[in-house]
């Protein structure tokens, strides 16, 4: 009696072994590391590697180890202070063409990595970093689309010589008014022909004949979806250039984007970058009119008054040569002659053609570069939230056209290399398709993260010890077996978390602590049952058997209900709650395995298949 078939023992052995292997990576230290990635403009070569080594050697910074991959270099350091110093000195050495990212890298041996065994993925509250939840104003995207339609309809009617009195937006519709019904019918047919997506409706007003054009629900949805997708892409481009390893940029719900940057330290800079929209416009200077007159209020038709960075007024032609949308690539650097910070810009085909035409016609005349930045500001006024956009338009450089421009050229006049860098970044990343607002932010500093790990680890350890002492004291040999199961359970939880690469958070650690307390419950139920069986006079072997059998359904019932709670927590919870639910869920499953099958296998080994006089429990 009380013997497990060989296959069951082997199965349990295999599960525990696999658990041990996958939990193993977590005992290796995680080193602060620096990841250097090349770009299209700059390949990482062995020569680069040598330059990095030399530079760090000269600065007296010790590299713990250096790995090179495809166009990638990973430097490990012994502490984060060295890591930061190395970043500073390499930034000046390598310039803007390489991406430097702070990261953590564990020295897990290759054979472990080759079976996919990785350390647990630590949440931001444990490793430090920035979490931002962004709300995308998708109605604005629909509004913009309507605005575009208004413009297009105007152009169409003008081209077709159909006289309209007004084209305006009313709610979710574009309203076109005509004086005569006949013209309206003609226009209706034309618009229908040209814009098949629009839903058109004739409305007769007081003394006007109108057409209302609406976007179909379908198209509205596509527009919203596109805006969100475009925003995610743009944000990803901007963040990738920030130099953070493993950033997470994900859609959440219908209209939100989550951005998580592990290890990032400067929320202010991130927020500036996320919310900023910056672009450039190239315009000719209006040299035929007097600036003073314009400042006095007489701005000539076809021109517009701007100011330079130092506040000097300047008159520019209204016609834009090239806008930021036509810029395909941008990088920052220094102007070779003046050594001023500069942005190198590449244009797309139509943009380049236009630029060449205009500059060819205007050699010797001054051309200006306008820097346009829009900041979104929301503040509470009288209890209501008001969002407004503040456009900032400045002329950053004016220079005479020496020769016709081509596809690639440079722009100077920026305040600092940092500004040149950010502008290049924004130009490269593209524009946001709809305005965004940060609705939640959680930043955890690195010291707090480390404290959380230490405190979490300490409480797991102390809780575990207390429970183990109690169990051993209470149930003797059986208690020791339960303790073995408890430790195995912890190993399995860690292994499953590592395998799934689920995020471990501080509430997640709390979940583990709680599971430690509750995992012994199954064993307590079984052992108490065995005691009862002995008390009513059963033999030790029969008592063990009956104890496990009878407690089983109780254990399952009790655990299923907790599983229900964990599943609901997971599906409704955000951030902290999810982390707790994950470990609770995994912990319940693994604890059922170790507490029922695991302890039974050991108990069977110890007591099974022989005559027992008395059972000490």
């Amino acid at each position: 009696m009380n013997r497990y078939p060989l296959w069951k023992n082997i199965l349990i052995g295999i599960v525990v072994l696999v658990g041990l292997i996958y939990a193993l990576p977590n005992i290796f230290d995680q080193d602060p590391a620096l990841e250097i990635t090349g770009s299209r403009r700059a390949e990482l070569t062995p020569a680069t590697e040598q330059r990095v080594r030399d530079a760090l050697g000269a600065a007296g910074i010790e590299i713990k180890s250096l790995d090179s991959g495809s166009n990638k270099l990973l430097l490990r350091f012994s502490d984060s202070e060295t890591q930061l110093r190395a970043k500073d000195s390499l930034e000046t050495l390598l310039g803007g063409d390489y991406t430097l990212a702070l990261t953590l890298s564990s020295d897990v041996p290759g054979w472990l990595r080759s079976v996919g065994a990785l350390p647990m993925y630590l949440g931001l509250d444990l490793r430090g970093g920035i979490h931002v939840l962004i709300d995308v104003d998708m109605d604005a995207a629909v509004d913009q689309a309507l605005e575009r339609y208004s413009g297009d309809i105007r152009t169409l009617l003008r081209d077709e010589k159909l006289r309209y009195s007004t084209v305006s937006q009313r709610g979710d519709a574009v309203v076109i008014s005509f004086k005569e019904a006949e013209i309206r019918e003609q226009a209706l047919a034309k618009i229908e022909d040209e814009f098949r997506n629009l839903l058109l409706e004739s409305v007769d007003g007081d003394d006007a004949f109108q057409v209302e054009a609406r976007m179909s629900n379908n198209e509205q949805q596509t527009t919203r979806k596109f805006a969100l997708d475009q925003n995610i892409t743009t944000l990803r481009n901007r963040i990738n250039a920030l130099g953070v390893s493993e950033p997470i940029i994900q859609q959440q719900g219908d209209r939100r984007i989550v951005v998580q940057l592990p290890g990032a330290q400067d929320p202010a800079r991130l927020k500036d970058l996320l919310g900023a929209t910056a672009t450039l416009e190239y315009r000719l200077e209006d040299t035929e009119h007097n600036v003073e007159d314009a400042v006095a209020g007489k701005v000539p038709v076809g021109s517009k008054l701007y100011h330079t960075r130092d506040g000097r007024p300047i008159l520019l032609k209204k016609q834009v040569i090239v806008t930021g949308n036509q810029i395909t690539d941008a990088s920052s650097g220094f102007d070779q002659r003046s050594n001023q910070p500069a942005v190198f810009v590449s244009l797309d085909g139509p943009g380049a053609r236009r630029m060449r035409n205009v500059t060819t016609d205007n050699v010797g005349k001054p051309m200006a570069v306008v820097f346009i930045e829009t900041r979104t500001e929301s503040r509470v006024v009288d209890g209501k939230k008001v969002t407004r956009k503040i456009p900032v338009q400045e002329v950053i450089s004016v220079a005479n056209i020496l020769e016709p421009f081509g596809r690639r050229f440079q722009t100077t006049g920026l305040d600092s290399p940092a500004e040149a860098h950010d502008l290049a970044l924004l130009l490269r990343a593209g524009a946001l398709a709809a305005p965004i607002e940060i609705v939640e932010e959680r930043t955890i500093g690195p010291s707090l993260g480390q404290d959380n790990i230490d405190q979490g680890f300490r409480s797991v350890l102390i809780g575990l010890l207390l429970v183990m002492v109690y169990m051993a004291f209470s149930y003797k040999v059986f208690g020791l077996v339960a303790n073995l199961a408890l430790i195995t359970n912890l190993v399995l939880i860690v292994a499953v978390l590592s395998m799934l690469q689920a995020t471990l958070t501080l509430p997640g650690i709390a979940g583990i602590v709680l599971t430690v307390g509750m995992a012994v419950d199954a064993n307590v139920l079984i052992f108490e049952r065995i005691r009862e069986e002995i008390d009513i006079g059963n033999t030790p072997q029969a008592s063990i058997h009956a104890g496990y059998e009878k407690a089983l359904s109780t254990i399952v019932d009790a655990n299923v209900t907790t599983l229900i709670a964990a599943v609901v927590l997971f599906s409704f919870g955000t951030g902290p709650i999810k982390g707790f639910a994950v470990t609770l869920f995994i912990g319940i499953l693994t604890s059922m395995f170790t507490a029922i099958l695991g302890t039974r296998a050991v108990i069977n080994r110890v007591y099974g298949g022989r005559r027992l006089g008395k059972l000490v429990i």
Binding site: E441, N452, F473, T554
Partner: protein
């Protein structure tokens, strides 16, 4: 080592009126406190901005306060967090800043005032809309957990047991939240998670007792429902107390060593588990008894009975 001798026979049900009076007065206290004082909700639910700053030296709160006042932050609250070197600042919304930029500016001011000797430990900003959503989701989660459990217990046992367990759960939740209201402990997302875990845990306890009641109804030929319930509670008492004991042990470790952030979480679980242990002994069974649970409700259906007879174990 055994907690109790096996012949333990405490007449729990005889004191059920007393227990009921006790429970009802606790719930009344909790509800009065909730109505009169409300909960001190954390920024997870109210929305707002919170900055935790770590200093090299212990720092006086009045100094931090005056720095912020001079910088034009009105309506801030400042408190120590865990140690005298850590300061937690709650910023009121509004003013000149964009709400997301508020925290950056506040920290910049504090850092400057401390000559750079201050470190940003944590920033939490929750927009009012998100706060409302989190509160709504939290309430919904609680509701769905209760419904899910009601269905499961009704399927596995009987509807009277299901009602009994849900009454016990509501009892536990109301009293735990009431304690947070009475002692004005901050109620945030992690506390909500703890409350939901309390639901799972307390039910766990209740199910074990119910399981035994069902078994005994089927096994014991004699005895009133009251006696059967009494026997069942006595038989499971040692397990109930041991498990609650071990769980409380680790939670105490978490409360003492887990750090400030996890404090509310551990506290909610400790209160909830103490109440939950009491309720699985008294409230759930009493409720089932008062709803009129009887032997005939729990006799196995014929087919199931045949199975039980053949393998010799009753569950």
């Amino acid at each position: 080592m055994r907690l109790f001798k096996s012949s333990l026979n405490i007449n729990f049900m005889a004191k059920r009126k007393l227990a009921m009076a006790f429970s009802i007065s606790l719930i009344a206290f909790a509800l009065i406190s909730l109505l009169a004082r409300g909960l001190s909700l954390g920024i997870d639910f109210t929305g707002g901005t919170l900055v935790e700053v770590g200093y090299q030296q212990p720092v006086e709160l009045s100094k931090v306060r005056s720095v912020l006042e001079e910088a034009g932050f009105a309506g801030t609250t400042v408190q120590h967090f865990g140690t005298p070197k850590d300061v937690l600042v709650r910023l009121a919304p509004g003013g000149e800043d964009d709400s997301a930029a508020l925290s950056s500016r506040a920290f910049a001011e504090l850092r400057q005032a401390a000559a750079g000797e201050a470190e940003l430990r944590r920033v939490e900003f929750v927009g009012p809309q998100v706060g409302d959503e989190l509160a709504e989701d939290g309430g919904l989660a609680m509701l769905y957990v209760l419904i899910g459990i009601l269905i499961y217990v009704a399927l596995r046992f009987e509807y009277r047991f299901a009602l009994g367990s849900v009454i016990a759960l509501v009892h536990d939740v109301v009293i735990t939240i009431g304690a947070f209201s009475l002692f004005a402990i901050e109620f945030d997302l992690t506390v909500l998670a703890a409350i939901l875990a309390v639901i799972g845990y307390s039910l766990n306890d209740t199910i074990v007792v119910f399981d035994r009641i069902r078994e005994n109804f089927r096994k014991l030929r004699k005895g009133t429902p009251e006696q059967v319930i009494n026997t069942s509670i006595n038989q499971t008492l040692s397990r109930t107390l041991v498990t609650s004991g071990t769980t409380l042990l680790v939670l105490a470790a978490l409360l003492i060593f887990g750090g400030e952030i996890i404090h509310g979480f551990a506290l909610a679980l400790i209160i909830g588990i103490v109440i939950g242990t009491y309720s699985s002994i008294y409230v759930a069974s009493t409720a089932a008894l008062m709803l009129g649970v009887s032997k005939s409700d729990l006799m196995p259906v014929k087919k199931e009975g045949a199975d039980i007879a053949s393998d010799g174990s009753q569950v």
